[in-house]
């Protein structure tokens, strides 16, 4: 078996105490381990406050990890600093929950999609326009969206733009933080189908965080259930869904408690 693309070992994330004499809060993420093989999709499920977002933010290096280790592509991910981290981050595409917040209100779609290309060092010009148009059409939007701004789009369209941006640099890993929670149910399905297509086409690995089990069951190979900062259950998606072992997962999946 080859080394996993993303490997997290005993990760602990703890936020700072609020006041000077306040007690340190319990860890938001407590000794969580996970492995994401190349090309696989791992769904992380949990209700609000389960630590799934903190786990994600720690993996994205937006909050510091208290202890534990993360390797991405075989390299130590937590030791990267400054410009190294900046470049390494381009190997991960991120789609956030609300596209209207994650797309700059002042830039056109063309500018938004050019931004990662410019960050990589590409030169602006006709090539870049063609590239952004291609990204957009791959995500199901025609090129006449390029001069528009995010606020003129519907939620589903805006989320397609966000996905196109996440794919711009050909990432090895796509991280999705509740990507469908802000959308209508019918649009959710369209976005999920788009993600499945993209996964099939590019062999993308995905880390998919959501509180909505129906969404994640549809798309995941592996599933991990989090509760109060800890992993309650993990395994192949079908088996976790079909026969959750832990009471918490059972409740989350809508099973009645065992008699």
């Amino acid at each position: 078996m080859t080394a996993p693309l993303l490997h997290v070992q005993d990760l602990v994330v703890r936020y700072k105490p609020r006041g000077l004499f306040a007690q340190a809060p319990p860890p938001a993420v407590n000794r969580v381990s996970l492995s994401l093989p190349e090309g696989a999709t791992l769904g992380v499920v949990g209700e609000s406050g389960s630590g799934k977002s903190s786990l994600l933010r720690a993996i994205l290096r937006l909050v510091p990890a208290e202890s534990g280790s993360i390797t991405f592509g075989g390299a130590d991910w937590l030791s990267l600093r400054g410009p190294e981290l900046r470049l390494a981050r381009q190997g991960i595409g991120v789609v956030a929950q609300n596209p209207f917040l994650s797309l700059s209100p002042r830039l056109t779609i063309a500018q938004i999609l050019s931004e990662p290309l410019l960050a990589r060092g590409d030169r602006p010009g006709p090539d870049m326009v063609a590239q952004t148009a291609a990204l957009l059409s791959r995500c199901g939007l025609p090129p006449d969206f390029l001069p528009r701004r995010a606020r003129e789009l519907s939620g589903g369209q805006a989320q397609r733009v966000a996905i196109a941006r996440a794919l711009a640099l050909g990432p090895r890993l796509l991280v999705l933080d509740e990507p469908t929670s802000a959308l209508d149910v019918s649009v959710q399905a369209q976005i999920l189908n788009l993600l499945m297509d993209l996964k099939a086409d590019f062999g993308l690995s995905m880390l998919f965080v959501t509180h909505n089990l129906k969404v994640v069951a549809h798309i995941s190979d592996l599933l991990m259930v989090m509760h109060q900062g800890e992993v309650v259950e993990s395994g192949r998606a079908e088996s976790v869904i079909a026969d959750p072992a832990q009471p918490y997962s059972r409740a989350l999946m809508g099973f009645r408690p065992r008699p």
Binding site: Q90, A96, N98, L101, P105, L118, L169
Partner: protein, 278 residues
């Protein structure tokens, strides 16, 4: 005229007054009845004459036509106000951006320096600076700017602190966009608008402070016409020859009021409007 409708009656009037003064400043040699006197030539045969058909606003102690002096003074006052606000923005905005964006010791260092400047009463510090630098228009602009920029630094910092946590700024970081580019491309456009509104509001007070400095004899050198200085000169003849101080005084009052009203109109329309993505 959608701009005027958005400004409302007061704002439109303010804008009209400002544009009138701007026109006076630009076209002073054409509009002043006695351009030579406006620039300082004495006219000893007509000392301190009251307003008349010949001298609409009267003449000063050197017999110079006050209307021409006021028109030429517009140039000094407008450029002083503009320069003070521009220099202060140019210093304060980058300081606030850096402090707010990088946080930590950068923030501490920059904001403590800013606090030192804020600790002094503004006019006192300006007077000290102007006295140290010596009189002159440029020096008085520098002196007032020194007391002015910290406010912009604070405002810019506060705006950045809000914007820095926005998901779209975070998204830029996650794409590997460099710090300078995030600041300039993703944060500055959002932070700049409320600051520009504030700058428009501050134009009037800046102009007043500059006039106060020249009233105290720390501004422009004679024979250049300057409103603050003219009020000071007229003080000796007040109230018997009231028109000498009144003409420039009313000009200061009108222009400062116009900026204040326009700024209020701008703030009402734009200032409270942050990025509202929904």
């Amino acid at each position: 005229m959608s701009v005027l409708r958005r400004l409302g009656l007061g704002g439109s009037l303010g804008l009209a007054v400002i544009l009138t003064f701007a026109l006076l400043a630009v076209a002073a040699p054409l509009l002043a009845p006695y351009p030579g006197q406006g620039m300082g030539d004495p006219n000893v045969t007509a000392k301190l004459t009251p307003p008349s058909a010949e001298f609409w606003l009267g003449t000063d102690h050197l017999g110079r036509d006050l209307l021409s002096r006021v028109i030429y003074g517009t140039r000094v006052s407008m450029s002083a106000g503009l320069m003070i606000v521009a220099v202060s923005l140019l210093v304060g905005l980058p300081v606030g951006l850096l402090a707010g964006y990088f946080g930590g010791w950068v923030d501490e260092a920059l904001m403590r320096v800013t606090d030192v400047f804020l600790a002094f009463p503004a006019l006192l510090l300006a007077v000290l600076m102007a006295a140290a630098l010596g009189p002159g228009l440029l020096n008085s602009i520098v002196a007032v700017s020194v007391t002015w920029w910290p406010w912009y630094a604070r405002m810019a910092r506060a705006e950045v602190l809000v914007l820095r946590g926005q998901p779209y700024v975070e998204a830029a970081r996650l794409m590997g966009v460099s710090h300078p580019r995030i600041l300039i491309r993703h944060i500055l456009p959002g932070a700049a608008r409320p600051l520009l509104v504030q700058a428009a509001l501050d134009f009037g007070p800046a102009l007043l402070t500059a006039s106060a400095l020249s009233f105290l004899g720390l501004g422009v050198l004679p024979p250049t016409a300057d409103w603050g200085k003219m009020v000071d000169e007229g003080r000796k003849f007040f109230p018997d020859r009231w028109w000498v101080s009144t003409a420039p005084g009313v000009a200061i009052f009108l222009l400062a009021l116009a900026f204040s009203v326009l700024g209020d109109a701008l703030r009402g329309r734009e200032g409270g409007k942050r990025d509202d993505p929904s």
